[in-house]
């Protein structure tokens, strides 16, 4: 693909004494990349380390030629990385409108304004006055994505966006990801849901025990049951009719 605009080099991080990310490296350009892997392999920790919510122990994270590791979350976000966290983490006290208004400062002439978000997700427009906690799972996820888009960043970082969502909603998200990549936004998505991951991104980075074990194409991962069993665990399938338990919980897989 294009030249790397985002690079992670030998990243190590963890909580207390526990090492979760172990010498993790990858790079990506303006494209969609999925990170897949079983529970407990460190996917969420990787997202949190990129966002500065977990302090990296060593290694480097480089975005648009600048090192962002060790910086505060607000600086990292303003360097152009828009974060859609696991469990969405909306603000229960704020309505849909307020979520977007809060971040729309000086967005007048930029690509993403609250109105543009409502255009992308018309269902949200119908829920303008609703509280963030009173939306359905799908609407919550749309709001979390819309909120991130208002940063007008060059990269979207999504942690388990399909978690707990119905297949039709997942389709809307997949379409939105394609749309964004076409517009020149890089999308890094962490996914457990094989169908969502493979339809969102061509490049599939398989994460095992805190490092990128291998990279495969979406078609290869989809077609190879042995690969799926080895890296994604038993029961991984393209059938996502059953939402994962604890859909909207804030639980972290470490």
């Amino acid at each position: 693909m294009s030249d790397a605009t985002f690079r992670v080099e030998s990243l190590c991080a963890g909580y207390g004494e526990a090492r979760v990310l172990d010498d993790l490296s990858f790079d990506m350009g303006t494209e969609a990349v999925a990170i897949v892997g079983r529970n407990g392999m460190g996917k969420t920790t990787l997202c949190e380390a990129i966002m500065g919510l977990v302090k990296p122990w060593s290694g480097a994270i480089i975005h648009d030629g600048e090192r962002i590791d060790g910086q505060t979350p607000e600086r990292i976000a303003r360097s152009g990385i828009a974060y859609v966290p696991q469990g969405r983490r909306l603000f229960p006290s704020l309505t849909v409108d307020e979520h977007l208004a809060m971040l729309s400062k000086g967005n007048g002439d930029k690509r993403w304004t609250p109105e543009a978000v409502y255009e992308l997700f018309p269902r949200l427009a119908e829920r303008r006055r609703q509280g963030g906690g009173k939306l359905s799972g799908g609407e919550q996820q749309m709001l979390a994505v819309g909120r991130a888009l208002l940063l007008n960043g060059s990269m979207l970082l999504m942690d388990e966006p399909s978690e707990g969502l119905a297949p039709t909603i997942v389709d809307i998200l997949i379409e939105a990801v394609h749309h964004l990549v076409e517009e020149g936004v890089a999308v890094l998505v962490v996914e457990q849901n094989l169908r969502a991951a493979t339809e969102m991104a061509e490049r599939q980075l398989v994460m095992v025990s805190g490092r990128i074990e291998t990279e495969v194409t979406a078609a290869r991962l989809l077609g190879d049951a042995e690969l799926q069993r080895r890296y994604l665990g038993v029961g991984a399938s393209i059938d996502d009719g059953e939402p994962s338990p604890g859909g909207a919980s804030k639980g972290h897989d470490t």
Binding site: P73, P85, P92, S93, K105
Partner: protein, 360 residues
């Protein structure tokens, strides 16, 4: 404002054993029964109390109710600042009462300077500006001192709640001594403007309009606070920060600046309350501790961090303060103050995080 509704432990679903649901339902039942008893007592029985039952002495009842609501206004102004700071920054600002008292002393001295005398002030000499300007000056001084405290001592201890509580407690002790040295140990009083100092008749009872004026000021402050939190971008950021501070930062918002502004406004509210309190009941050494305690009681009842809760907590606490001495049987009037703690116990038994609070 924050629609966070406290989650009292609820009885589980159908499979939950009935024993558990009884344990959870009991405090609720007792609380409702107690509330019902209080209402019946005040309205119909109130035997041997100074006021007598409301049905036979409605004037006294209405006046007591007004006392409760007007005092609740003052409580709200002070406690809203306290809860605002806690809600966003998780800082229990033990110096809140000190900021209240500092503003009270400053406001009194400014008023004296504006009138050119410090004794025998009669209300007729006090124009509306002679009251509003000292109040604003006092509140601004409190706000600036609050901001300095936050920048000097609290900023680099963000997230260390116990440390911040101890630091602000130490500041309270230091400020109390400094104020005693500077303003003296005598109780001082700010004078209400003459134009609002009248008496009106309510069902045969005389009532001071200054209390109604105090309520009006409180309502105005509450309305401005509501507009700020609901109609400005910073207000939205503050409410979002109360919900999930980390997420606000991960969205690229400079929360450190918002923290400073919030502390400034919280201290400003303490200061407005200080000037109101100095006019209502006077200011003296020790008022700082009283008003820290008042703020704590209000926000514990209402739920830490919730402005809605501050309204509810102020009203409930104001009711107990006004009604207990009037409606307890005379020989128990002594114990009126204890009812405050009964109120706390009842509320916490039903809603452990306060009426509008939720777990951190």
């Amino acid at each position: 404002m924050s629609t966070a509704v406290g989650q009292a432990p609820q009885a589980g679903d159908g499979t939950a054993d009935s024993k558990r649901s009884v344990v959870y339902a009991l405090p609720k039942a007792v609380a409702y029964a107690a509330a019902a008893f209080v209402v019946v007592w005040v309205l119909f029985i109130a035997g041997d109390s100074p006021a007598g039952p409301a049905v036979s002495n409605p004037g006294r009842f209405v006046v007591t109710l007004l006392d409760a609501i007007t005092f609740a206004g003052l409580l709200f102004v002070v406690a809203s600042g306290f809860t605002l700071i806690f809600g966003l920054m998780r800082t229990v600002n033990m110096a809140h009462g000190s900021l209240f008292l500092l503003a009270a002393f400053v406001a009194i001295n400014v008023q004296h300077a504006m009138l050119g005398k410090s004794r025998n002030i009669v209300a007729d000499e006090v124009g509306i500006l002679d009251w509003v300007v000292p109040m604003l000056v006092g509140a601004l001084v409190a706000a600036c001192v609050g901001l300095i405290l936050q920048q000097l001592f609290l900023r680099w201890n963000q997230g260390q709640e116990l440390r911040q509580a101890l630091i602000t407690l130490a500041i309270t002790v230091i400020m109390a001594d400094q104020m005693l040295n500077h303003f003296g140990g005598l109780a001082l009083r700010m004078t209400w403007p003459g134009s609002v100092t009248h008496f009106i008749e309510i069902l045969g009872q005389r009532y001071a309009t200054t209390r109604l004026f105090m309520l009006a000021v409180a309502v105005l402050v509450g309305a401005l606070l509501w507009l700020w939190l609901n109609r400005t971008r910073m207000g939205l950021v503050i409410r979002a920060g109360v919900d999930d501070e980390t997420m606000v930062r991960a969205l690229g918002i400079n929360i450190t600046f918002v923290f400073a502004v919030t502390f400034f406004v919280g201290a400003f509210l303490a200061g407005i309350g200080g000037a109101m309190g100095a006019s209502f009941a006077g200011a003296a050494t020790g008022s700082d501790g009283d008003w820290l305690l008042n703020s704590l009681v209000v926000v514990i009842i209402g739920g830490l961090g919730s402005i809605k809760g501050a309204v509810a907590g102020s009203l409930l606490y104001g009711m107990v303060i006004a009604f207990a001495p009037a409606y307890l049987p005379s020989r128990y009037s002594f114990y009126a103050i204890i009812l405050t703690f009964v109120l706390l116990a009842v509320v916490l038994a039903v809603r452990p995080y306060g009426l509008f609070g939720r777990p951190a």
